[in-house]
């Protein structure tokens, strides 16, 4: 048991945890923008599936990883804008719309995959983004390998986390976004364009969700498989709650949940006799406990999930 906790074990474990956490972090980063603006998007799973499938299809046909990434971003964006149109413009139930989109995307991506596969004798595959070690930093013991010997999409995410933290917490635009999510009528009265802000937040959510799916294809697996996100969109929702809708906190929450997922595969090596499902369950349990712990302290944006109807009194 003791010998297993070597530096080598921990290093590889951390590496795997970071890698698992990246899609969660991308998707939850987008959802933070959306929820801050008052749109609860349960359709993250659909965003990610669209991103994964489009990135795969584009990368496969064009042979370019960057085109694939762009395809994934556009795919996620398209799904999210449909959700935004239905929830903002048509003022419909956001949760129902998200669930319908999840089911729709699950179907349509499997359908197109079948067609793509049936036209190919070999299962189509794409290359993945190579690892880029950052000189110096990647040599730090324990965390260097995990954090700084990753692919380019991981480094882009680091930038995005930092930018989001500043943008949401320390800029006028971040304040406007929060105002729209808290009290859209008041925001409207002081001249903030509520609908435009919400659409913009949804667009960011869509692009980041698309990148999350694209990461799974273009950096992790190199293939698209049916229902490959397997509920990660829902875990990302939990990450947002556990991270209290703050980018850095959410990134850390994603890391924690990623570590829990990686732990499953290593428990047997560690001689821990717990069913894998127990580790699976952990993120959801933690999130519920976090929600309980937040009683009286943190709360949801006041208008989260409620459509703003401008002409209503």
């Amino acid at each position: 048991m003791e010998q297993i906790f070597t530096l080598a074990f921990l290093t590889s474990f951390l590496s795997a945890a970071v890698s698992t956490a990246i899609p969660l972090a991308y998707a939850s980063m987008g959802e933070i923008y959306s929820e801050k603006a008052g749109i609860l998007n349960i359709g993250l799973e659909a965003n990610m599936l669209a991103g994964a499938f489009c990135s795969f299809a584009v990368a496969y046909t064009s042979g370019s990883l960057w085109m694939g990434l762009l395809g994934g971003i556009v795919g996620g964006l398209a799904v999210c804008m449909l959700h935004a149109f239905i929830s903002v413009r048509l003022a419909q139930n956001q949760t129902i719309c998200g669930i319908a989109l999840n089911i729709f995307l699950l179907g349509i991506s499997s359908y197109f995959l079948k067609i793509l596969v049936s036209n190919n004798p070999a299962f189509p595959q794409v290359a993945t983004f190579p690892k880029l070690a950052i000189p110096g930093l990647s040599a730090i013991p324990l965390i260097g390998e995990a954090l700084f010997n990753q692919n380019i999409l991981v480094y882009i995410l680091y930038l995005l986390i930092g930018m989001s933290q500043v943008l949401l917490k320390h800029t006028q635009w971040g304040n406007s976004l929060t105002a729209v999510g808290e009290h859209p009528r008041a925001a409207d009265t002081v001249g903030i364009r509520v609908y435009r802000t919400q659409y913009l937040a949804a667009a960011i959510n869509g692009m980041l969700g698309g990148m999350s799916g694209a990461y799974m294809v273009l950096a992790q697996l190199g293939v698209f498989t049916e229902n490959m996100t397997a509920g990660r969109g829902y875990i990302a929702l939990a990450v947002v709650i556990f991270g209290r809708r703050e980018p850095i906190r959410a990134a850390l929450a994603a890391l924690l949940f990623g570590a829990a997922e990686c732990m499953q595969f290593r428990m047997q090596a560690l001689g821990i006799d717990l069913p894998a499902q127990f580790m699976n369950m952990l993120p959801y349990l933690i999130t519920m406990i976090a929600l309980l712990g937040s009683i009286g302290k943190q709360r949801d944006p006041e208008s989260l999930g409620k459509p703003y109807i401008r002409d209503a009194r």
Partner: protein, 344 residues
């Protein structure tokens, strides 16, 4: 008269668009739409078995959909039917495995009652959290779905596992919901679902409790002014909804699978949300919508077997129809606009 034409135009738009999408999907898979339509219809009406299969698949959607509709009408947004179904199935398994001699029908009744309780208790958690602390039930019910699913996984690899082999499943259960249309798989669970449609309709439309639930759902402040205990209403709505979903899960267990397995519910808890929406949260609407969705599944399965059309077409059309429904206002507007132009 004018309103009537709009209704017809709207129905035409819905049917037309859905058929158009289905046609495209079938063409894309390289098959003939007409031939597929024949297979689809024969799959449903062509044999007693196909027809019974529709009712078999409708039963869990109907029960869970009813539960969800109670919640929606009372302002409790339950997306946790999936988990409540698993909890119901777990409780029913425990009771069914109980090695006590008793008439089979009593044993089954006890198992179903336990399922109702377990599903209800599982929904009680988000219910009380919402009623007492105002914590959003959406995230909580979602989390509880996964927790229930993983709990099922743990139990069928542990205390509930069939000790005679290594598969992650419970032993074959003795007590079962009796078949009602041999040799098909149709079982008494379907009759129970029909009975629940009646009960829920009576409860919501003809009892003070139902009235209170609906007032709470439409306006909490008004409910408080009327002296209705809002907290109690939310808890009642959540527990009833969870209980019905619990029965749905137990029905699948004791009527179809006869073993607790990981794929027992397989997403029907989410489809049931769409059933409730499509049925406009009305018990009779839920009855119709659940049979409609089930027919879609059975027809599409036949298309897959005989024509090689991917079964994913079910999810695509399900999602598409609901998205159309959400765009209803837009569709109506377009119809109205055309009419005005036509008149001018």
């Amino acid at each position: 008269m004018r309103k009537y034409t709009v209704q017809v135009a709207r129905a035409l738009v819905y049917t037309g668009l859905t058929l158009a999408v289905a046609t495209l999907l079938i063409l894309g898979a390289g098959a003939s739409p007409l031939q597929c339509a024949g297979v689809f219809i024969r799959g449903i009406f062509g044999s007693l078995n196909g027809f019974a299969e529709v009712l078999v698949k409708a039963a869990p959607l109907m029960l869970a959909g009813l539960g969800i509709s109670i919640g929606f009408r009372s302002g409790f947004f339950n997306i946790g039917a999936e988990g409540q179904m698993y909890m119901g199935a777990i409780a029913a398994t425990v009771v069914a495995m109980w090695p006590v001699q008793m008439p089979s029908w009593i044993h089954v009744t006890l198992a179903m009652a336990a399922a109702f309780l377990a599903g209800g208790l599982w929904a009680f958690i988000p219910g009380i959290l919402k009623a007492k602390f105002g914590i959003s039930e959406i995230i909580n019910t979602l989390m509880l779905n996964y927790i229930a699913f993983d709990l099922t996984g743990i139990l069928i690899r542990g205390v509930l596992q069939d000790s005679t082999d290594y598969l992650p499943q419970s032993p074959a259960l003795g007590p079962e919901l009796a078949g009602i249309l041999a040799p098909t798989r149709l079982h008494a669970g379907f009759l129970l679902a029909l009975l629940m449609v009646l009960i829920v309709w009576w409860l919501m439309e003809h009892t003070p409790t139902g009235f209170e639930l609906q007032v709470v759902g439409s306006n909490k402040r008004a409910a408080r002014c009327l002296g209705i205990n809002v907290m109690k209403s939310i808890v009642i709505a959540s527990c009833l909804g969870g209980g019905l979903a619990g029965i749905a899960g137990a029905g699948e267990l004791l009527g179809i699978q006869h073993r607790l397995l990981e794929g027992l519910v397989g997403g029907s808890g989410y489809t049931a949300i769409l059933v409730a929406l499509l049925g406009r949260n009305n018990p009779w609407g839920v009855l119709a919508a659940s049979i409609g969705f089930a027919a879609l599944q059975v027809g599409a399965n036949t298309m897959q077997r005989q024509m090689g059309i991917p079964a994913a077409i079910v999810s695509i059309l399900t999602g598409f129809i609901v998205i159309l429904l959400l765009c209803d206002a837009l569709i109506l507007k377009l119809i109205e606009k055309r009419k005005v132009e036509g008149a001018a």
